[in-house]
Symmetry: C2
Subunit: 275 residues, 2 copies
Amino acid sequence: MSRVLHFTNSRSAMPRLDGASARPPVLAEPLGELLRLLGASDDDARVVGGPLGAVPTRRVTAGEALFHEGAPAETIHVVRVGSFKVFRTTEDGYEQVLAFAGRAELLGYEALAHGRHPNAAVALEDSTVFSLTPAELFDAVRRVPLLDRLLHRAVSDALADRGEQAGLMAPVAAEVRLARFLLQLSRRQAASGQSPRRFHLRMGRRDIASYLGVAHETVSRSFGALVRWGLAVTDNREVELLDLPGLQAFAANTRRPVDDGGHAPHRARAVAVVG
Amino acid sequence: MSRVLHFTNSRSAMPRLDGASARPPVLAEPLGELLRLLGASDDDARVVGGPLGAVPTRRVTAGEALFHEGAPAETIHVVRVGSFKVFRTTEDGYEQVLAFAGRAELLGYEALAHGRHPNAAVALEDSTVFSLTPAELFDAVRRVPLLDRLLHRAVSDALADRGEQAGLMAPVAAEVRLARFLLQLSRRQAASGQSPRRFHLRMGRRDIASYLGVAHETVSRSFGALVRWGLAVTDNREVELLDLPGLQAFAANTRRPVDDGGHAPHRARAVAVVG
DNA sequence: CGGGACGTTGACTCAAATCAATAACCGTGG
DNA sequence: CCACGGTTATTGATTTGAGTCAACGTCCCG
């Protein structure tokens, strides 16, 4: 059963992003902080940071809801530290995960259109967010064009991400979906300066399953398969990608490669495709 | 074979939205038109309409691409008349449809974030769009806060729509996905003043299949099933929903109701669920 | 240290993908 | 106007990936 590797110190060894966790709750931060978070250069952020006041922040503990499905659109948020899952619950109780949001990502923006949140967001870990009412938001973007630019950019990003999700839910083999998901996470890690090969999953198997549109058992089996093929190792929520190029080649496949009996070390093979 | 009904005049009987189709190509429209399209009241639109100039428009014929995947973000669009499919092509040639966009919907906004279009858009029928470069767009929203508001609202809507798509691709019975899709179209029809019971599908079965994440044969079979259940009738791309409440009840089911052999007239049954 | 959620694994079943063949439709040009 | 070829849609036969049910091990919080 110990086909799975154990990392040197798997628990409590991940770097704590939340440097403020021991301090009392933060109630507001200068606007410049938000601008910087959204990608403004330090210079730009400093210029408008001073006179234009502060932005309220809010702390959310792991498992707590930032907002519920159907709730009135009181606030729009930008993740400052931590991460969230965004989901909607169908009438029959099925929880469909729509997105995982991390640092600098928007939450609750969908509510602008109809005044209500079409989905819910709960924290996957202790987190803090910038929070603005729609009125404050519109006021702020009018006064600070830079913020408007950055906001549009962030929304555009969120929209593009949703497009990626469709790629993950596309009708391809479950192992491929998982591989694509892991690569997506890997890219995000890299983008925020973390290791693209090794990271900690902040969500459970069920959430991954819902996000990928498969049963949670299938996620387990798919992890097993990737490990068996030598593409990755896992220890619960710790993941190490052993063969990025191999994984990418594998993720490009629409159909699963034939399984020759169980213990083939290098299965993945890129298919050369001419449009 | 003629289980399928034939409408009185199925072809060329749909109201032509495009009242300008016989006139020479329009090159620009007043800004007020765009504002009105995005939902501004006539008064608001008139107020800012005059002095602030015009917005370029572009005609696209059926089947023509508005922009290609990977193309630089030269323009952002708002559909004025017609409809489009938005899709991305995976390396192996599979075409994943991400959205169908109609009147007043945004196209190409995702490109703002990274300067390139992450997906392509092609017209499903002869269409016209408002087109702005990112620079023009940012300039316009700075000068016209109302436009910014409406734009944010439209984007919020688009984001919410993508959330709906995830609901369509969720792992439920194919017939249910199709039912949900038809109800979505029905709602859009109603929202734009058209009949919610009867309409013309602007996309082919393959596109629907891709959008729902199933094989195109499955879409055909699912249409067949809905017809057999007595919930709808179809004649190629003409659709009539015979039993909206029944369809809604059916669409709420996560698992398919047992098929008792083939010719059951009223299958759908709502499941009462307590969260 | 106990209990409930989480994760893995196995056996079985079936919905839907795939393969295949036919029919309807549509634009085109003879 | 109709014949033609390509695309699109329907329908059937067959196979299989993954959903479901179930049992067990593991983790973690209180």
